[in-house]
């Protein structure tokens, strides 16, 4: 009798220990997101010389200085993000914490590590949150571009670095924005801009590191936003460049985002400081 009892106790001790150690093993998402780079990114990066530029938004008319930086020549693809979630299981669809992504995170994937048939591995990855994009960038030793960096690169058309004064510039981008299901096309199928950067407009919207620095008053920030009513009906009165309707659309879109949102045509690309440039900056 007593021996049986001891067996039972020993057994439950083993169970307790097992359950303890399982809890210990739960990885912390954020902590791992900040780990040293474990994946390598094969995306070519383009060096942008930086400079002063006129931000689209804000009553502040001062030019903003952007330091030289590197930016991916194209958005991160489904195939690349698949490699990432294999290496970092905490970013798989069934594992991700609700704090870091809404329930639609990667919802079109067949399983945690399986892309759906008919989805191009070379198309830009979408339906992922700011946290996930940021964790990917950290995993490949890069970062997300700052909003000012992204917009600086986006001023270029195929011929000149700043095409904002051309009427055709904004019209063309708006035309891209209105094309449905454009996110399913493979990257790098259209010509690059002046800097050699592809697909800034024609495939997906892109997360930026400081997307939450867009302050638009009123309805832009309140209420629920789904894929279909992402754009607010705010006014462009504080815009410094009212002809640039494409930029207005981008800023409205950013203003409506929250970091855990995932959207079917919102992806990202990575950026990086120029090695050694930090020393110059600090002088």
């Amino acid at each position: 009798m007593k021996i049986q009892f001891i067996y039972i106790i020993t057994f439950s001790v083993v169970i307790w220990c097992a359950s303890c150690s399982r809890e210990e093993a739960v990885p912390d998402v954020a902590a791992q997101g900040l780990q040293a780079a474990q994946l390598t990114s094969r995306v070519k990066m383009v060096q942008i010389p930086g400079g002063r530029y006129q931000p689209f938004y804000g009553t502040d008319t001062a030019l903003v200085k952007v330091e030289p930086f590197l930016i991916d020549e194209r958005p991160v693809t489904n195939g690349e993000f698949l490699e990432f979630v294999k290496a970092y299981p905490q970013w798989q669809r069934s594992q991700v914490k609700r704090l870091y992504a809404d329930t639609n995170y990667l919802h079109n994937w067949v399983a945690d590590t399986l892309l759906p048939a008919g989805i191009d591995a070379d198309a830009a990855v979408t339906q992922l949150s700011w946290y996930a994009a940021k964790a990917y960038a950290a995993a490949v030793g890069k970062r997300l571009p700052m909003l000012d960096e992204w917009e600086l690169v986006a001023m270029a058309d195929e011929v000149v670095p700043n095409a904002r004064q051309k009427k055709s510039y904004s019209d063309r981008i708006v035309d891209f924005y209105l094309v449905k299901n454009r996110q399913y096309n493979a990257v790098k199928q259209s010509p690059p801009n002046y800097w050699g950067v592809y697909n800034l407009f024609d495939l997906v919207w892109e997360w930026t590191d400081d997307f939450n620095s867009v302050l638009v008053t009123g309805d832009a920030r309140s209420g629920d936003y789904s894929d279909n009513n992402l754009f607010c009906a705010g006014s462009a009165t504080s815009a410094t460049d009212v002809l640039n309707y494409a930029a207005f659309m981008r800023f409205s879109m950013r203003a409506g985002l929250k970091a855990h949102y995932t959207v079917g045509n919102l992806g990202f690309r990575c950026a990086k400081d120029i090695p050694g440039n930090g020393d110059i900056k600090n002088q």
Binding site: K2, D60, N212
Partner: protein, 191 residues
Amino acid sequence: MKQLFFILAASFLFFSCKENTGKKQLPSNSIFHLATQWQDQRNQSYQLNALKGKTLVVVMIYTSCKATCPLLVADMKEIEKQIKPEYLSKTSLVLVTIDPKTDTPEHLAGFAKAGGMDAPHWVFLRSDEAATQEFANVLSMKYKKISPIDFSHSNIISVFNPDGELILQEEGTGINAEKIAGKVNETAKNS
């Protein structure tokens, strides 16, 4: 001999139980998953999960702000007034700075004292810029540095339950203190 084994096994079980209590799995949307490091006005350093177990009323401000932050601080004090005294010990009123460079722990301590916010349920937090940005995103708060001394930002007061789940957010100036305090009282009562 058998008895000895029994005692050993029993005590082993006892210890492993003890170790396991309080290790309940956090909800998936809990802010206590954030692994960033923070400092408070008492110069203590910890991760946010050190605040676990209390209802949190959270706002982001910066102490050199002359515009809406004083209103938000006033809102927090009004909320404090409307929380039942017996529930204050189950509550933390948390002010997180968006200006970690200026708002050092010493600076925050001075601000707390000057504003009469030195009771133990007042917590002022600062971290580095990356953690601050992440936390602002957790609160869905927009902010931008507009000059070396000024930020523009949205005004949001958020309430988290003792497990770190967001249960209420009120946006804009003229916050409904009664509604927030009511939620805190209700949560404290049930916890």
